[in-house]
């Protein structure tokens, strides 16, 4: 059963590549515009030996990873504080409700003014944009904690702090993890947007712009392909970690997706 699925998936990918190659070979599309599939794949392979691309990829990943770490460090405690203190949460909520729908890339021009260093700029933008899903998920998760579980612990004489640590945090953890996974996706969008809009010396976004100005569509699409594959891998890795860590948590749907 599973075997047949994998086989069909492989067949689907192969079919898509072949179809794209055939369309290219018929000459319907000028391959100076849109290169053939074989050329794109060759371009993607070349990129693996291209020191410049590898350096750019490292720079983007560094900004992404650093930004995400900092986001978690800021957003999880913030979410916990807001979730544990309902009066504060009620007061802050209108601000959150207004700030959250602001399209996050709009803050890039402001960030350009404030940060001269490109890495700092990207990390700052990521922290701003990727914090929301984590904060919101954490607040909701804490609110959802089974009151009975909390009261049980309280009846044994535990204080509010240990209730937070021993009951609220573990039962909220799966939702926080979902928030972090969503944030990881937001973060990569922001890093690349910041690269495109703010310029700089290094980054996949910069590489793609240079390939565009050199009219190397094959390298552009090759780099895009790698970015997509990286996205698939990092997402599956995060999902796998979630599954491992929270096996006890029956597959309840996350608060935000």
């Amino acid at each position: 059963m599973e075997h047949a699925r994998v086989l069909r998936g492989v067949a689907g990918v192969a079919g898509f590549l072949a179809a794209a190659e055939i369309v290219g070979a018929t000459g319907l599309i000028d391959d100076r515009f849109l290169p053939r599939m074989s050329a794109i794949l060759r371009g993607a392979a070349e990129l693996l030996a291209d020191q410049e691309f590898l350096a750019d990829a490292r720079a983007t990943l560094a900004a992404w990873g650093l930004g995400l770490l900092l986001t978690v460090a800021v957003a999880v405690p913030a979410g916990l504080a807001l979730g544990a203190l309902p009066p504060v949460e009620r007061a802050v909520r209108p601000l959150i409700e207004f700030l959250r729908p602001i399209p996050s890339v709009a803050v890039v021009p402001l960030a350009i003014l404030l940060f001269s260093d490109n890495l700092h700029l990207r990390v700052a933008v990521v922290v701003y944009a990727a914090s929301w899903p984590i904060v919101i998920n954490t607040i909701y998760a804490l609110r959802d904690v089974d009151p009975l579980a909390k009261e049980t612990l309280r009846s044994f004489g535990f204080g509010p702090m240990s209730v937070l640590l021993r009951v609220a945090l573990p039962s909220a953890a799966p939702f926080i993890a979902t928030g972090i996974r969503v944030a990881a996706g937001t973060a990569i969008i922001l890093v690349i947007s910041a690269e495109l809009l703010a310029g700089g010396a290094e980054g996949v976004g910069i590489y793609i712009m240079e390939a565009a100005s050199g009219n190397r569509m094959d390298l552009m699409l090759g780099a895009t392909l790698w970015a997509g594959l990286f996205g698939v891998l990092s997402n599956s890795a995060l999902v796998a970690v979630e599954r491992r860590l929270f096996r006890w948590h029956d597959a309840r749907a996350g608060v935000a997706r």
């Binding site: 689907g12 007061a91 569509m217 780099a223 996205g231």
Partner: protein, 262 residues
């Protein structure tokens, strides 16, 4: 009563604004103009036109018009394609097996990467921006629709079979309504993503619209203008989101209520 409750709920907003105003006046930092100055500039830029046009200025028309048109056109196009394809794929296990890896790859590509690609492919202008938006935001719609169509309650489908529904009836009366909650979740994600891509595309292509105004204000040291654009984009995001929630609440009334009672 309601007014008192609203004040009780919203008190932090005016407090923050006043604090911001005082802090910026004291600091006299050029990047951070006081909110009052931003507000004045917003009025001058967009709301000082003739009353016959609801006070909207020429600039307001040229800033908002094209941006909103591209946003909605791209979103609507992605919605139509995404929902149609999603229902087709979700109804056929075989088809979804074949396409699953491609869909995973497609949705994992960071959408802003497509901006330079489509600009190079289609040249500057609306088609490139539309293509960027459609290609970038279709994935959450597609994935959610597939999921929704795939997980229609078995008994809903069996009932349709028992009573001999035609294929069209099964699609329009059973599968699509049942998948609607998930489709709406996808559409909402897509809407906020569309706004982001629109701004990236406008800033990057520099061809008019709010995003372009934002960047050119920053480049020409008109910081109050820049903040004005930020505020307007925030308002736009907020309004779109609220309008969409309102629509969702109407269309999915059955969903909310059905879940509350069972």
């Amino acid at each position: 009563m309601n007014a008192i409750r609203a004040v009780g709920r919203l008190w932090l907003v005016p407090v923050t604004l006043v604090a911001w105003e005082i802090a910026t006046r004291v600091a006299e930092q050029p990047f951070f103009p006081p909110p009052s100055a931003t507000l004045v500039r917003m009025g001058e830029m967009w709301l000082s036109g003739p009353p016959s046009r609801l006070l909207l200025t020429e600039q307001a028309m040229s800033d908002f018009g094209p941006s909103l048109a591209r946003l909605f056109a791209g979103w609507a196009l992605a919605a139509v394609i995404g929902v149609a394809a999603g229902v087709a794929i979700g109804c056929s296990t075989r088809l979804s097996d074949y396409l699953d890896p491609l869909i995973h790859l497609g949705r994992a590509v960071p959408p802003p990467l497509l901006v330079p690609f489509f600009l190079a492919l289609l040249k500057l202008g609306t088609p490139a921006q539309l293509a960027t938006i459609v290609f970038g935001i279709i994935w959450p719609i597609l994935v959610n629709t597939i999921d929704g169509a795939r997980t229609v309650d078995r008994q809903h489908l069996e009932t349709a079979r028992i009573f001999g529904f035609s294929t069209v009836q099964r699609l329009t009366r059973v599968i699509v309504p049942a998948a609607m909650p998930k489709i709406f979740a996808g559409l909402r994600l897509a809407l906020s993503l569309a706004l982001i891509l629109l701004i990236v595309a406008e800033i990057f292509a520099g061809s008019g619209g709010l995003g372009y105004r934002l960047l050119s204000a920053q480049r020409t040291y008109l910081y109050a203008d820049m903040w004005g654009c930020l505020v307007v984009l925030g308002l736009l995001g907020y309004l779109l989101n609220s309008a969409f929630l309102l629509l969702e609440r109407r269309v999915l009334a059955w969903h909310r209520n059905a879940r509350q009672t069972t």
